[in-house]
Amino acid sequence: MEFNKIRELVDRYWDGASTLEEEEELRSFFSMEHPHLPADLKEAQALFGYFAAEADIPMPVFPEIGTLTGQTPATGKTVVRTMVWHHWMKYAAVLLMAIGIGYGARQFTSRHDGVLAERSIAADTYNDPKEAFAATQKALALLSRNLNKGTAQVQKLSYFNEATDKIKAN
């Protein structure tokens, strides 16, 4: 008798026409052992057994709600307190940068002074233009003399070349 009623409910279930109460009745029925269950109800038994097992998923430990609501901006920001000496790396970086800039500036100044000194030596060799002219003439004369010495040697070479050409021609 009971199986007939269950069969009717199962048919309604498969048709998608059962109510929540009827489905609850089916869940309750199939949660118990039925050694003489008719064969046509066994597929529903398998399915409802699966539903019961799935509803029984073990629950994890959820974090405190306070931590969740405290994470949002609405409840205010969390203030992280740090001591002054916790920033030693910042101070060290600033100090290193200052040392670097100071060293660079010093190097630049000394190099700049050297360049200026060189320029001043090159620019102020002679104050009087006549003296400068005389010195330039002297330097050019020296250059000319040395050049002439060279041409004399080259002249000898040309004689040698001419002699070689004559021999080749014969």
Partner: protein, 171 residues
């Protein structure tokens, strides 16, 4: 005010949210992450809490969206080989033969349910495992009531056919 609503309407459904996420993701850690993210999202939109008629459905909808995003992002693949079915709760039974047989039935049913299209699977789970009404399912999935009924009917039909085809019978 919003904290009171949050504590009275959202926090108590945490387990349902987790269970729903777990079924979609089949992974405890991810389900926990999605549950926490959902609670945080709800809390961050606390100004909406007073306007909502069905807070639970809204939370479930957020869970579903986040879980589906996660599935998409990590390219999850629901295991068709029924490996995860072995993680189903153990059946308390003394006879090891019957236990093994029941586990086998569970795996096969799990395979059938897991093989359903996502919409069918979700509707069947919401209705047959969580016991939601048609209207609540419609609210969660943002679909028409008639669509819920039609899809549930089709889903059950497919499940029945598969059970008969694979000859899955309860022990």
């Amino acid at each position: 005010m919003s904290l009171a609503i949050f504590l009275s309407q959202v926090v108590p459904v945490r387990q349902k949210l987790y269970r729903f996420a777990y079924r979609l993701l089949e992974n405890e850690e991810d389900a926990m992450d999605v549950t926490q993210d959902t609670l945080m999202k709800v809390w961050q939109q606390q100004e909406r809490m007073t306007d909502l008629q069905n807070m639970e459905a809204w939370c479930m909808r957020i869970v579903r969206n986040l879980a589906l995003d996660k599935l998409k992002a990590r390219k999850y693949r629901r295991s068709e080989d029924l490996d995860t079915a072995s993680e189903l709760p153990a059946i308390q039974q003394e006879n090891p033969h019957i236990v093994a047989e029941k586990q086998d039935v569970m795996k096969r049913v799990h395979g059938i349910i897991a093989g359903l299209p996502e919409k069918y699977r979700t509707i069947i789970q919401l209705r047959d495992i969580d016991g939601y009404s048609y209207q609540e399912i419609a609210d969660i999935l943002v679909i028409e009531l008639s669509e819920v009924k039609t899809n549930l009917h089709r889903a059950r039909k497919v499940v029945r056919e598969q059970l008969q085809k694979l000859q899955v019978y309860g022990v």
